[in-house]
Symmetry: C2
Subunit: 207 residues, 2 copies
């Protein structure tokens, strides 16, 4: 299949319009099954080392589970507030949307027992494949005008316990998924002055 310049520019627009969405932007509007399906289909179409497809998507709507995970976040964020106590802004940031988002998706890495092609030298390729799936889902959601927020201030081991995940699973990403009242024009942390934008030239070396 050949794509056009217009297709490429559209993709770049989607990539640039993707935001990390938190609870203050999610609306309670339900996500249609066929849209959730498209997001998951994007996930399983990700590259995976040795075609190992080592991902598991746990779709969470149960309010009791969400409550436990929100508490997990609160515990971890208390520690983080202490670490960032010199920066006043931190404690006022909304950093998750576990209860506000109608759907949460825990994305797990399930390592294979047998050797995997492409993982003999670089052992992290399995979990990296799962991250590629997450990024596919994030872009797909954005193209459907659905927001995703990646919550990382969690005790991963306890998340796995709460989800009753298979032994040896690893938590790669915890995603809050839902419609939003608006998408910000640019990264919220950039707007708020938490961190400056790195220019393209600063990120490149030519050899």
């Amino acid at each position: 299949m050949n794509f056009t310049q217009d297709d490429a520019e559209k993709l770049l627009n989607i990539i640039k319009a993707r935001r990390d969405v938190r609870g203050n932007r999610f609306t309670p509007q339900a996500i249609e099954d066929e849209k959730l399906q498209m997001i998951l289909e994007a996930g399983i179409s990700a590259p995976s080392v040795g075609y190992s497809q080592p991902w598991k998507f746990v779709i969470i709507r149960d309010i009791n589970i969400k409550n436990k995970l929100a508490q997990n976040f609160e515990n971890e964020n208390s520690k983080a507030k202490e670490i960032f106590k010199a920066r006043e802004l931190y404690k006022n940031l909304k950093l998750e949307g576990i209860k506000e988002a109608p759907v949460n998706i825990a994305v797990l890495y399930e390592p294979k027992e047998e050797d995997v092609l492409g993982m003999t030298s670089m052992k992290k390729m399995g979990e990296y494949s799962v991250v590629c799936a997450v990024q596919n889902m994030w872009l797909m959601a954005r193209a459907l005008n659905i927001g995703i927020g990646w919550v990382s201030i969690l005790d991963a081991k306890k998340v796995l316990e709460t989800l009753d995940a298979k032994k040896n699973s690893q938590l790669v990403a915890y995603l809050c998924v839902g419609y939003v009242d608006k998408f910000y024009e640019q990264s919220e942390l950039k707007t708020l002055g938490w961190e400056r934008e790195k220019l393209l030239d600063e990120s490149i070396t030519y050899l």
Copy 2:
């Protein structure tokens, strides 16, 4: 910005048409600067934990460096052939395109010295951000009808030495980038019967 159903379907097409490209498919056709620029722009538009943007892209065209890295691959792949000796297919697989692809890009993770928002509990979020950049680049390239192959059968430490990378850098991905004579319809490893396709239902749990 609001995207249409047509935009979403186009994105899913790009996601599904993306392939891992090896040296037997690359052509020597040079990549236009503005297209390489679009690929890199997609990379730096990736999400990053705490807006840390911890990526470095090393663009490699130097033939001496490519030769060293191709040798690095050969050494590591000899070990891999031994590991997979029970599977005849392995030794006949072409698994990289370091010399055939006109451009190689090493994608590095440069950890920050200071604490990073969102990394206080899950320490791998920094490198995961870099993987998101790689996936953005891969999709962007595909939309420009350019192939990318991710080479992971490498001694990462030696790659960093060869690139004279900054201390503490980590190799996340080594990408071979170039035009191709064709994109396969589906994963080559699936076609060749190395691994079967996992169905969507096998990858999902509902809670």
